[in-house]
């Protein structure tokens, strides 16, 4: 009995298709197809990044308008394109001073612009607007860099570049997503993960302490903890600011030494990036200056400690990058309580009654007053 078989034309077409696929493998068409698929994937994700950048700009402008800002779009455009040229590093002499000078100018320019644009708003609202504009600018920058790499890869037929970009896109999107969420939290004014250091400082000082402005946007107070005089430094809150903790500590210690009150211990408390797998909010202790600045503030801690022979200790609260810039998670808040206890323990164990100690709560003080 004759078996039922497929019509000849289907068989011919499928054989031809297999032959073509086989030939294309030798001509590198498969690779081109792969590149095409990668580019398509990047373009689709680029669209997501573009939407995030636009959405964040809209939110920043809306926030500024709520505080009667003049020409918020204009100021945002200025912040977006503002740049800072890093100082010459092949001649390292006085590089820290040069860097500090440039950062100070940048900060002053931003502050002036926002004061002009939002004359009716208070300092807290202005600082939040400034941070919102910076986040919108960061998202726009991420979008522009990805677009640049994609277009360069396509233009120069650089398959490796496109492949690398496609592989790293999930990570880039994760960072962009974190910034997008951070913008909402900054606008609301909630403490972020990075505020753990200022929280510890505030808790050590206690309610009702008299704070004085010792440096630009940085305050200091003193208290007595188990018979030790403890000086505490943090950025001035509850606006979005990191202050100048290094400069403030340097000034404070020089004042203390001048009146014969040389500190026996310096402790910096800050949020620090954890390694994947580590527990968020866990606390660790070490030696050195815990601060994530590019150099000018950190070096001040080290120099003043070395100049007067003061032991420099660090207590860190561990968290992920996203957690550091988003609303403080409960585990980080609990970590700050543990860090406070660790600081008290250090003071007890490493100093004697009557000694002087300086504790610096490093980090953005948004949502943390004094």
């Amino acid at each position: 009995m004759a078996q039922a078989s497929l019509p000849d034309w289907i068989s011919a077409i499928s054989q031809l298709a297999f032959l073509l696929i086989f030939l294309m493998l030798f001509l590198g068409v498969n690779q081109r197809f792969q590149i095409y698929m990668w580019s398509r994937d990047i373009k689709a994700k680029l669209l997501v990044l573009e939407n995030m950048a636009k959405e964040s700009e809209t939110k920043a402008v809306e926030y500024m308008l709520r505080h009667n800002a003049r020409d918020p779009k204009g100021i945002l455009a200025k912040v977006k394109d503002f740049f800072l040229i890093e100082p010459v590093s092949i001649e390292p002499i006085d590089i820290i001073k040069r860097m500090d000078h440039l950062f100070t100018i940048r900060r002053a320019v931003f502050r002036r612009e926002f004061e002009k644009a939002m004359p009716e708003a208070d300092e807290v609202a202005r600082s939040r607007a400034e941070t919102a504009a910076e986040i919108a600018s960061a998202l726009n920058w991420i979008y522009k860099v990805v677009r640049h790499l994609l277009l360069t890869g396509e233009k120069t037929k650089n398959w490796i570049l496109i492949m690398q970009l496609q592989l790293i896109m999930p990570q880039i999107l994760k960072i962009a997503e974190a910034y997008k969420k951070a913008l909402n939290d900054f606008i609301k004014g909630t403490p972020i993960g990075d505020s753990a250091g200022p929280i510890v400082a505030l808790r050590l000082a206690g309610q009702g302490s008299e704070w004085r402005e010792i440096e630009e946007e940085t305050v200091a107070t003193s208290t007595v903890i188990e018979g030790r005089k403890v000086y505490i430094v943090k950025a001035r809150g509850p606006g979005s600011s990191v202050g100048k903790p290094g400069a403030a500590t340097e000034k404070l210690i020089e004042e203390l030494v001048a009146r014969g009150e040389k500190p026996s211990l310096m402790i910096t408390v800050d949020a620090a990036l954890k390694l994947e797998g580590e527990e968020t909010g866990s606390v660790a202790e070490g030696v050195g200056a815990a601060i994530g600045d590019p150099g000018p503030e950190k070096i001040r801690f080290e120099r003043i400690a070395v100049k007067h022979g003061i032991p420099l200790k660090a207590v860190i609260i561990k968290m992920g990058l996203e957690e550091a810039i988003q609303a403080m998670a409960k585990s980080i808040y609990e970590g700050s309580l543990k860090a406070e206890e660790r600081v008290r323990q250090l003071i007890r164990e490493e100093t004697r009654e009557g000694d002087t100690v300086v504790v610096i709560g490093v980090g953005n003080t948004i949502g943390v007053g004094q």
């Binding site: 997501v48 909630t190 998670a329 409960k330 949502g367």
Partner: protein
């Protein structure tokens, strides 16, 4: 008698085509998720120290740690943090927190 196997080739082509279509649809779905944002919902809690006990309530704009509030005698905000919102849970009323 040898079986007719000519249907295998078109079947393989159909499977390959089906896989490509499924992958394309998956990619489109992933992108849609990205557009919508993957972040889970969270609630911001303000923790108020009322001296002998502590009170929790939802965060209000203007709250900050160290702020004195008149929701209880000598009330001070001592903590503000985010907690992941559980599915199907509605907004909680202010309640006493563990000291």
């Amino acid at each position: 008698m040898a079986e007719d196997v000519t249907w295998i080739q078109p079947l393989l082509l159909m499977i390959a085509l089906g896989t490509v279509i499924m992958l394309t649809l998956k990619q489109a779905r992933d992108l849609k998720k990205l557009q919508e944002g993957t972040g889970s919902k969270e609630r911001i809690i303000t923790l108020i120290d009322c001296g002998e006990d502590r009170k929790e309530r939802d965060f209000k704009e203007g709250d900050y740690i160290g702020k004195q509030v008149d929701e209880c005698l000598n009330g001070v905000i001592v903590g503000i943090y985010a907690v992941k919102e559980e599915k199907g849970k509605t907004k909680a009323k202010p309640r006493r927190a563990a000291p």
